[in-house]
Symmetry: C2
Subunit: 350 residues, 2 copies
DNA sequence: CCTGTCATGGTTACCGTTCACACGCGTGGC
DNA sequence: GCCACGCGTGTGAACGGTAACCATGACAGG
């Protein structure tokens, strides 16, 4: 009955949309085999005669069969779906990571289901985890690298693989950029240009990334014997960079500023410009991230590049590693960022 | 057997992670009812005595039961999952739309599964559709507003709701920003400032958004009786803005530039700056999008704001409307953008 | 007292896969 | 000639829900 719904018309006017609702039995009937054989073909089992396989494949094509993943999930208890907890995905970094992850997941044969959270309190995160669990995801990647998330994630049902992206969790496998090293690169670059010290406008204090960058900056200053000013508190926005930048611009001893990210740097750049302090002649500015626009700031921004897409790919690797081994590691993968010199940093004024 | 896996320990050291694997039967057994009654409670059916309902709820809590959505999907043939075809999600616009959509979907009780595509050729889009179909999504939202996508989407299986976001498709319900109006706003603003005409650095020609903005710009010039120069071809990047900006900067008659988006404007700003043409004194620049950083460009960018999150929400509305009515509309929802004047535009030089 | 209706809850079939197992058949070793 | 074995294939039972249908008891109306 259902089988004759074939009619994948080659008639003009465009083929009709593929028919919903052909199932294994239909394919089996058309190919003259049992549903089990169809299943075998589908799952690349050995012990199917090539000729039979071809017949089945032809039938599948004719009926435009696609397998019902719900049924499959039900019996195998594997959904081939990954959950993604996303925070602030409108930012370039998280958005890119999401992209990298999805691409990687796709080629590994996984689907990705997202749950964005509006805030990172325990409540929201646990709620997101719940939603994902209900879809019986096999693993969860959290692009939400706040410390609080780490602890929330540790609570996730056993048998569920978890990976954090970014500075995050204590007891959760994590993949992150080596923020401290990146920050140190930027700082050393500025010191090498003759600046006696480097100011830092930091990201939000509850982001481990921000803290690690502070650490790297501080350490670089310290080991060069340079004075260590207090880091300026901020968040990831241009506005924060602007506000802190105004304060820094008013201080004539300031000649070098390392910013927690490129947006902050943009704000700082504007503040310096408004205060009449030329960049890089009077003040050098370095950012972090290397967003696509930073090469077009005024002046083009010296920064530290993170490979966000790679971050996504690696987090998938880590997840799959757990899925396959069945054990929850607490490995930490760290990616080294790359320093990108441009025009916003220069020799210290004499 | 399974029921005594309760032990959702209140013991110190943190409760053990919720137990996987309690199913309806377990709950039913514990509550002393049949699994059907549990189902009724779960689905808010009437005709369950309050006392029974409470017993069931208590049992569910005790066992930390969560229903298996695969089983549910299998029998109801409704997955409560939406598919999202995403393109260039690292850009601010698409990323924000994704966010808006996900939030809306969540509160409407839907899950969101994403399929990002690397390119928008028919092949890739159809492949993404396939992947989503396999997950038996109930509807698809395509944040991938190229013309080609529209036609590909029209091919989607019947019985599957589809919505395009952005300029896109012919025969597909669409929600978009009124790009022509936005472009006209920007253009009229510049004309009102006394500029004799307005140049336009456009987005990629295969994006309907870009075309609509060209149309709006052209129409505004035309109806004001201003000369209509050829639009400069570009893409959405700062680089394109920079390259076209250099050409424009070399032409002393150019006093006003309307850019296809804020990134382009950023590039143009830099090109003008390098050429020594002051903004806004000598040349006015207007962007489109109002990305969070544009208020911190040098100078702060006059632009046109799109409410991307609203775009996401509306596309969900449209999808749900189709899902509930069961008919595929080809309604087109158009959102009016908002003009945001800042410092990059000013009176024409005399 | 019989019947109809309503509230409540149980029975059972079914959704579309996969898995465990059985089956028939050719082949090779003894 | 018998048995074991591998190959290719079919059969039936899960998986965990929901929906349609049935059973029971209480209660009202005739």
């Amino acid at each position: 009955m259902t089988a004759d719904r074939v009619e994948t018309g080659d008639q003009p006017g465009g083929p009709p949309p593929r028919a919903r609702g052909s199932v294994m039995r239909d394919v089996a009937r058309l190919a003259g085999v049992s549903h089990q054989t169809v299943s075998r073909v589908l799952n690349d089992h050995p012990n199917v005669r090539p000729e039979t396989r071809d017949r089945v494949l032809a039938a599948m094509r004719a009926l435009n069969y696609r397998r019902n993943s719900a049924a499959r999930t039900l019996v195998t208890r594997k959904s081939r779906t990954l959950g993604l907890i996303a925070y602030e995905t409108t930012l370039f970094g998280p958005a890119s990571t999401l992209y990298g992850l999805e691409q990687a997941a796709r080629s590994a044969g996984y689907f990705v289901s997202v749950a964005s959270v509006r805030s990172l309190d325990r409540e929201s995160v646990l709620d997101a985890v719940d939603r994902l669990c209900e879809q019986s995801v096999e693993g969860i990647v959290a692009i939400a690298p706040q410390s609080s998330v780490g602890t929330a994630l540790a609570q996730v049902p056993t048998g569920l693989a978890v990976v954090g992206v970014g500075g995050g969790g204590e007891h959760v496998p994590t993949v992150c950029i080596d923020n401290a090293t990146g920050a140190a690169m930027a700082t050393r670059h500025l010191l090498a240009l003759g600046h006696t010290t480097v100011q830092h406008i930091a990201g939000p204090p509850d982001w481990p990334e921000a803290r690690d960058r502070i650490d790297g900056w501080r350490e670089a200053l310290h080991s060069a014997g340079a004075p260590v000013p207090a880091p300026r508190p901020g968040n990831w926005s241009a506005r924060a960079g602007y506000e802190q930048g105004r304060l820094l611009a008013a201080d004539p001893t300031v000649t070098a500023v390392f910013c927690g990210n490129d947006q902050i740097a943009l704000g700082a750049l504007r503040a310096l410009h408004e205060a009449g302090r030329r960049v890089p002649d009077e003040v050098s500015v370095v950012g972090f991230d290397d967003v696509p626009e930073s090469g077009y700031f005024l002046p083009p921004l010296t920064t530290v590049r993170q490979d966000f897409a790679e971050l996504g790919r690696r987090s998938l690797d880590l997840l799959i590693e757990q899925l396959e081994s069945g054990i929850r590691t607490d490995r930490r993968v760290s990616l080294t960022p790359r320093f990108v010199p441009r025009a916003s940093s220069g020799a210290a004024p004499t």
